[in-house]
């Protein structure tokens, strides 16, 4: 059932929900506003909600500079001062206005022309720009754009039960949940969906990514909505979740990164954030309630969760991310704005090395599941442990009728999150850099026995591993991983010689200081140990218990 395709010419889906987004946008903003308002008013009174939002925003904006804010500092101060003297109706009016502003700020956009332009022109242009060939050859290649695409195709593989997913996209709404290593993951995922013949998805992107005028223009018009992670108060989060739920109910395929942020350590995510992911469950319950006549509205198509692993031979921001991770844990920054992805030069260097190191990215779609983690049959019905059909609605029954129940639903979501985390471990594809880093890191552990992580990273060490030892180590690791049925990607599945070759070439091609270098005597010497640690974490995290 697993298909593996090399990315080649596109067979884009011609009809998909995002095409009608521009017509529905205003309605979505209105519905989000209305529903978020009723939901928060069920929990608390408007003066408390506004008071909390004002105080948190006043503090945040006093401490940091404003950047594309929904409300400026003086406005917040004015609103806060006025709260005491207002009647309930005025307060509700203020609250509605604030929620509407947030909903308007979050809501994305989709423009077919811009999207088509981006998806058809950008990849060949990218290939052209990044071509490793001599500049003299370029004019020749420009006459044959498909050749450029072929070269990109070699670097990007898409695997998984693609035909099953294509069928599911017709009968239901897909929620793709990829692992997250790099800011490049969302464009790469967009590209992969298209290559797999799957419809484009809407997705939340950090507001900081929209500040770049060109990138921002494309993101705004290719289905991204804006998530301002600097805003910490509950009201904003409620509006964001409501928006996500509303678009899921309306059948827009979506994408969330449930790790919440890029993996700092390079490990495969084990703990997932349930916030936005939970909207897949709340939207499902709303749909079941409509089916049962408990709630009104148009029918909600079934929602299918698709775990995806994005596996990269090299990670653009590796150096910054691992350095951040190794700083006192807990103080790690949630939002990093000044990493490699913000430096054009590094992005170009990275892309160039991508083009020369084959098999650089593998995107692997896992088996789709319903919101409770059940498997799905060909037509999207939920299937229990021994293949029998299960009736999803019954899981939400309260006295025979589907109904939301916060504690129960939170626990359901925990279980689904575990199922996704297990799928990540199963579906991770290891590449030569991961294997090479793993065996070298073990050698470091042997050379510096009994030391903790920080000393292993910093103790002076001049370690050379002979070619023969390295070959044996790699072969042993490959056998171990194969026995545990982990996936070895292109070249990682080759001979140990090929793994070492490909790994060293990749390390040499991009990072400031290579993680490992071949010596003149054909041994391999240790380079940047933080990077070795980072890349080996991918392998190590597969063995982690839940």
């Amino acid at each position: 059932m697993i298909q593996s395709v090399l990315v080649q010419g596109f067979q884009p889906v011609s009809d998909y929900p995002l095409l009608r987004f521009h017509r529905e946008r205003e309605g979505i903003v209105r519905e989000t506003t209305q529903r978020a308002l009723s939901a928060v008013l069920l929990e608390s009174a408007p003066e408390y909600i506004l008071n909390d939002a004002c105080l948190q925003e006043i503090r945040r904006l006093s401490e940091s500079s404003a950047q594309e804010e929904v409300r400026e500092l003086p406005e917040w101060k004015r609103l806060w001062r006025s709260l005491g003297g207002k009647a309930k109706r005025e307060l509700e009016h203020d609250l509605r206005a604030l929620i509407a502003d947030y909903a308007q700020d979050i809501a994305g956009g989709f423009n077919k022309q811009v999207y088509n332009f981006a998806s058809q022109v950008v990849p060949p242009a990218l290939s052209l720009l990044l071509s490793p060939e001599k500049p003299l050859k370029l004019p020749l290649q420009m006459l044959q754009p498909h050749k450029l695409l072929d070269s990109l195709a070699e670097r990007l593989q898409v695997q998984g039960p693609l035909s099953h997913l294509r069928k599911l996209a017709e009968v239901g709404t897909l929620v793709c949940v990829p692992t997250h290593l790099s800011n490049l993951d969302s464009p790469v995922m967009g590209y992969a969906l298209q290559a797999a013949g799957l419809p484009p998805t809407t997705y939340g992107a950090g507001k900081n990514l929209f500040t770049n005028p060109i990138l921002g223009f494309f993101m705004r018009n290719c289905g991204a909505y804006r998530v301002d992670r600097r805003i910490r108060h509950d009201l904003y989060k409620d509006v964001l979740k409501t928006y996500s739920q509303v678009i899921l109910e309306r059948g827009y395929h979506s994408m969330f990164f449930p790790g919440g942020t890029r993996s700092r350590s390079g490990k495969v995510e084990g703990r997932l954030k349930l916030g936005l992911l939970g909207t897949a469950l709340t939207a499902t319950i709303e749909g079941l309630r409509r089916d049962a006549g408990e709630s009104t509205g148009t029918r909600v198509r079934p929602i299918f969760i698709v775990p995806v692993t994005v596996n990269q031979q090299l990670v653009l921001e590796a150096e910054t991310l691992i350095a951040d991770y190794l700083k006192e844990t807990g103080k790690a920054r949630f939002i990093i704005e000044d990493d490699e992805s913000a430096q054009l030069r590094r992005v170009v260097d990275f892309a160039r090395s991508m083009m020369t190191a084959a098999g650089a990215i593998v995107i692997r779609f896992g088996q789709p599941m319903d919101v409770l983690g059940h498997s799905l049959n060909e037509v999207g019905q939920s299937v229990g442990p021994h293949g029998q059909l299960v009736d999803l609605a019954r899981y939400f029954w309260v006295k025979g009728r589907p109904q939301a129940l916060p504690q129960r639903d939170a626990e359901y979501m925990n279980q689904t999150a575990s199922a996704i985390a297990r799928a990540y471990r199963r579906e991770t594809v290891l590449l030569p850099t991961h294997l090479l880093a793993s065996v070298l890191w073990r050698r470091i552990g042997q050379a510096l026995p009994g030391l903790d992580l920080y000393r292993r990273l910093r103790q002076p060490l001049d370690l050379h591993v002979s070619h023969a030892d390295l070959l044996a180590d790699v072969a042993r690791l490959q056998t171990q991983l194969r026995n545990k049925r982990h996936h070895l990607g292109p070249r990682a599945d080759g001979t140990p010689e090929q793994v070492i070759e490909a790994g060293l070439a990749a390390f040499a091609s991009y990072h400031t200081e290579p993680a490992a270098i071949r010596t003149p005597s054909n041994a391999v010497s240790i380079g940047d140990r933080q990077l070795l640690y980072y890349y080996q974490n991918r392998v190590e995290s597969l063995g982690d218990a839940e």
Binding site: G384, V390, G400, E411
Partner: protein, 362 residues
């Protein structure tokens, strides 16, 4: 509150005691329990475990009800008949009617029974088990499995709970004061357990620490076994107290590695149940310990006890898990040696009560 239909799966003494107790509750509070169903899995599924037991294969509820005190009916005989009329023995295919299912079958047959029942179960149901054991690793499932995990692996049911606490089968049969803790990640399940189980003689508490409840109940057979050995050697109450508290500490250390909360082991589900299980009355593993203490070989001792003993397999599991997680286990290790004939009783006893740890919280 709307009434719940309750089903009990199992043919052993616990299952019968539970069904009898539920029937009694139904008679007292028909608004809480609409119906009590009883499903006895086919003998061949559980026979392997029960074959050598001398326990009579009684009719489903006779034993349970006969011993029961029925407060509001004067003639005991007619009360029994009335209760018997209300019990509904069902086929596996009728399990779908139940809102709450209690599972009380021997651990080795859990998967087989669940597989048989799975096609008839659905997501609206809750399943609460009362099994004092984990499922040992086997070829098909290479890790020790909690009963609650097996339910998730074999059936569509998600809302799972577990029972533990100082309530042995005779307590339920005789309506002696007793208590149970229902552990479940779902608050709904705890509420349902209170609705159907709590009554004038039984207190029901709830916790979200399902794993802790399951493991402390599984651990009680280990403690009962140790206490049986200590009992036959006439060591007195302090020795029993040491086994209970230090045993709880030891088992808790292992359980925490599996995701349990330590404090569960020092509450009703842990120490509470251990106190009840280390009395002569009721606990099969306690009897087994007494026989082992008299140098009766394990196989012979099990035959003499004639009831399901989870102790030996739980000692083995605890020993292996302790090893796996690098947890010090003095009581478990001593029992393990004893079960494998490597210790003479005197030595085992010394080992049971000796330690090189002197900080109580280590």
């Amino acid at each position: 509150m709307s009434g719940l239909t309750v089903a009990v799966i199992g043919g052993g003494r616990w299952a019968r005691a539970l069904a009898g107790f539920l029937l009694h509750n139904q008679r007292r509070a028909p608004d809480r329990i609409t119906k009590v169903l009883h499903y006895r899995p086919p003998r061949e599924l559980v026979r392997a475990q029960e074959d050598n037991r001398s326990e009579p294969d009684a009719a489903p509820l006779d034993v349970a009800v006969a011993a029961g005190e029925v407060p509001d009916v004067s003639a005991v005989d007619s009360a029994q008949q009335a209760e018997r009329r209300q019990v509904t023995s069902i086929n596996v295919s009728e399990l779908g009617q139940a809102d709450v299912i209690f599972l009380a079958v021997p651990a080795p047959s859990v998967r087989k029974v669940l597989r048989l029942a799975a096609p008839h179960l659905h997501g609206a149901q809750s399943l609460i088990h009362a099994i004092g054991s984990v499922i040992p690793a086997c070829e098909e499932h290479p890790h020790t499995t909690l009963i609650s995990h097996a339910v998730g692996e074999e059936t569509p049911i998600r809302k799972v709970g577990g029972l533990a606490g100082p309530a042995l089968a005779p307590d339920l049969e005789e309506f002696a004061p007793a208590a149970l803790v229902c552990g479940s990640r779902f608050d709904e399940v705890g509420t349902q357990a209170i609705q159907v189980l709590s009554g004038h003689s039984l207190l029901v508490y709830t916790t979200r620490d399902l794993i802790g409840v399951e493991l402390s109940r599984a651990g009680s057979s280990v403690i009962a076994l140790a206490a049986g050995v200590a009992n036959i050697l006439d060591l007195g109450t302090p020795a029993r107290a040491i086994l209970i508290t230090r045993g709880a500490a030891e088992l808790a250390r292992i359980a925490v590695k599996l995701g349990a909360e330590e404090r569960t082991f020092f509450g009703l589900a842990g120490v509470g149940e251990f106190v009840a299980a280390t009395e002569r009355r009721g606990s099969a593993d306690f009897e087994l310990g007494r026989l082992l203490g008299q140098r009766v070989p394990l196989a012979e001792a099990q035959k003499q006890v004639g009831r399901v003993c989870d102790g030996p397999s739980m000692v083995r599991e605890a020993h292996l898990l302790g090893h796996k997680f690098h947890v010090r286990t003095s009581i478990v290790s001593a029992l393990y040696q004893l079960l494998h004939g490597k210790f003479d009783t005197k030595d085992a006893l010394m080992a049971l009560l000796s330690t090189d740890i002197h900080n109580e919280h280590e």
